[in-house]
Amino acid sequence: MKKERTFKFTIPEEELMNPGHLACQGCSATQAMRYVLKGLGQKTALCIPACCWAVIDGPVPYSSLEVPIYHCAFETAASSASGLKAGLEMVGDTETTVVAWAGDGGTFDIGLQALSGTAERNDDIIYVCYDNEAYMNTGIQRSSATPYGAWTTTTPVKHFKRRPKKDIVAIMAAHKIPYIATASVAFPEDLIKKVKKAKDIKGTRFLHIFAPCPTGWKSRPDDSVKLARMVVQNCIFPLFEVENGERYTLNIRPKEKKPIHDYVRLQGRFRHLTEEQLQFMQQETNHNWELLLKKVDAK
């Protein structure tokens, strides 16, 4: 008798995100949402401030998601989520996971104060930052998440961004919240594992998801997953967790740390950079990687 082949899915089959949304081709923010909802399940409520996802979801009266959404003000993802959680509990719903879902601008810049407040109070929400490294919804303006060297419409090639990307994980770790994790859409099993872990923890949990943006990065839409993988392999965006602001765990330690060169050269936003400037980026990457390893090994 022929043996029947069985498949075991490595990520949940449940789909809480429908087709028909308004994202660009190759948008990783949609992948991030799809995976996070797979990890959290339907008893989830989202607070989405101004960001690409404020549009991606679909115009009134449509929504591409099977979970409720509060479209909140730009700088209020965290504070809206704090209020929503308190409100739900007061009307008897203690089960729903409340998620603040914001882009890098809404997290690193305009929403940082509210996020700090929520984290300091350790309000019981999950904050997800999907990071495409600039204000993409408004048309590619630099944010404090934009990396060194990048072109944006407000950092033209003659005046490209000279300052490094803000270290948001360090800022969040300083708040001593129970759980922080970085994730990349190229590693869905790792991402969903972290989402599920976060779901079972009480208090403020922060997920930083790397989400390539072909429109803003001047990269090919079919390269998004590749870029999201390379950025982990070259250690620009390592995958790690921080528990209680102190315990660092590295999830993927590349056997061979890849040079940043290929990653950078796949993106039009870095096209103007000289080899010397690339060298500088490589040194910065190496330096940050060593700093992280020290924290990881310190435990």
Partner: protein, 384 residues
């Protein structure tokens, strides 16, 4: 039960008796006692509510809105700079039809730093789609919070309960604290038709094209237009249960008045005192203490204005480049009215300078002595 309490605590008791479920607030002078007492009430379980101690007024309102969307009754309080910081979210509250009730202590806007009263903070929020109630006693503050929840939740429009810095916020008065069971009867739990829940997932406030946006705003205005009658109705209901009527305004001796003062806030009570004195001296003066500013009670103002010879509006606020704000509003209400009385506009008491009964006497005499206002603005007590 009667208690001697400060105006700020009247707000706290109002929020407690209304069984607020989520409170989010940030401290600002002269509002602090409101939230100090509420945090004690929450800690001692006198009030079963969650108190979110936010890091700014902006987050205070944001948290209230999130909670309101979940279907919880929400309350906050602020003042002046704090109210201005909330400005963006005041639009969010009314546009999202979230019936938050907020106490605002009138305090002059900086610079220079002032902690004393005038109305420019709240009146700068005139067009944000909030109802605004200007109170003149601690009793009125407490009663109005309870009424405001009832009206707000019926119309899905947020309410601002406004009181003067220090003149009311820190002034102790005897206040009748109503019985909780009776308040529960007057104000049943908040049961919104729509609320955010995974069991019925909706997206609230998403991208709204020109095809739909206009209608949302039309509906907000239509709901606002229902407010004056509803305020009067719920005010009469309150009177039946608690013995105090809560109306759109508090007219005193207006029926046969030659000069009718138009006032608001605690200055409105000072004006009542002045009217009594002036009547004693034989002057036919009345005072219309405005309570509800938004929605503007057009019908009531026109009806009372039709009975008087002249109107003298005293504003503790100013719209620079125009005039006092109540003055503008009263004038616009009278536009096109047959035999509309002339309206004189006075500005007094900015930044907490006292407005005394003598000032109102001067105003009344000035309006009495002149056929029509020969200037746009008359300044009371300013050092020119």
């Amino acid at each position: 039960m009667k208690k001697v309490i400060m105006g700020n605590h009247a707000l706290s008791f109002g929020a407690m008796l209304s069984r607020s479920q989520v409170i989010a607030a940030y401290p600002i002078t002269p509002q602090t006692q409101v939230v100090e007492l509420l945090s004690e009430m929450c800690a001692s379980k006198a009030l079963n509510a969650k108190f979110i101690k936010v890091e700014s007024e902006h987050s205070a309102m944001a948290a209230c809105l999130g909670a309101a969307l979940a279907g919880a009754r929400t309350f906050t309080a602020t003042s002046s700079q704090g109210l201005s910081l909330m400005h963006e979210l005041l639009h969010w509250a009314s546009g999202g039809r979230m019936p938050v009730v907020m106490g605002n202590i009138n305090r002059a806007m900086a610079p220079g730093w002032s902690i004393w009263t005038d109305q420019n903070d709240s009146l700068s929020e005139r067009d944000t789609g909030w109802m605004q109630f200007y109170c003149a006693s601690n009793q009125e503050v407490l009663d109005t919070v309870i009424q405001a929840f009832k009206v707000s939740e019926k119309l899905l429009i947020p309410s601002m309960v406004v009181l003067d810095a220090f003149a009311l916020s820190h002034t102790y008065e005897v206040v009748d604290i109503p019985d909780q069971a009776k308040v529960d009867e007057y104000l049943p739990p908040f049961q919104p038709q729509f609320r955010l829940t995974p069991s019925e997932p909706h997206a609230f406030g998403g991208l709204t094209s020109p095809e739909h946006y206009f209608e949302f705003r039309y509906k907000l205005q239509k709901a606002m237009e229902k407010a004056p009658a509803l305020i009067e109705e719920t005010g009469r209901e309150y009177e039946k249960m608690f013995g105090r009527y809560l109306g759109l305004a508090d007219p005193r001796s207006c029926d046969d008045a030659e000069i009718m003062l138009v006032t608001s806030g605690t200055a409105g009570y000072t004006a009542h005192v002045a009217v009594e004195q002036l009547r004693g001296e034989g002057f036919k003066v009345g005072n219309l203490r405005m309570k509800v500013f938004r929605p503007f009670p057009f019908d009531m103002v026109r009806e009372i204005a039709g009975r008087v010879k002249k109107i003298a509006v005293v504003d503790r606020n100013i719209s620079y480049g125009h005039h006092g704000i109540f003055y503008q509003e009263v004038k616009s209400a009278l536009y096109g009215m047959k035999n509309a009385p002339p309206v004189f506009g006075y500005i007094a008491g900015l930044g907490g300078r006292d407005i005394t009964p003598k000032d109102f006497g001067d105003v009344a005499r000035h309006a009495m002595a002149n056929e029509r206002p020969e200037e746009e603005i008359f300044w009371i007590g300013v050092k020119k």
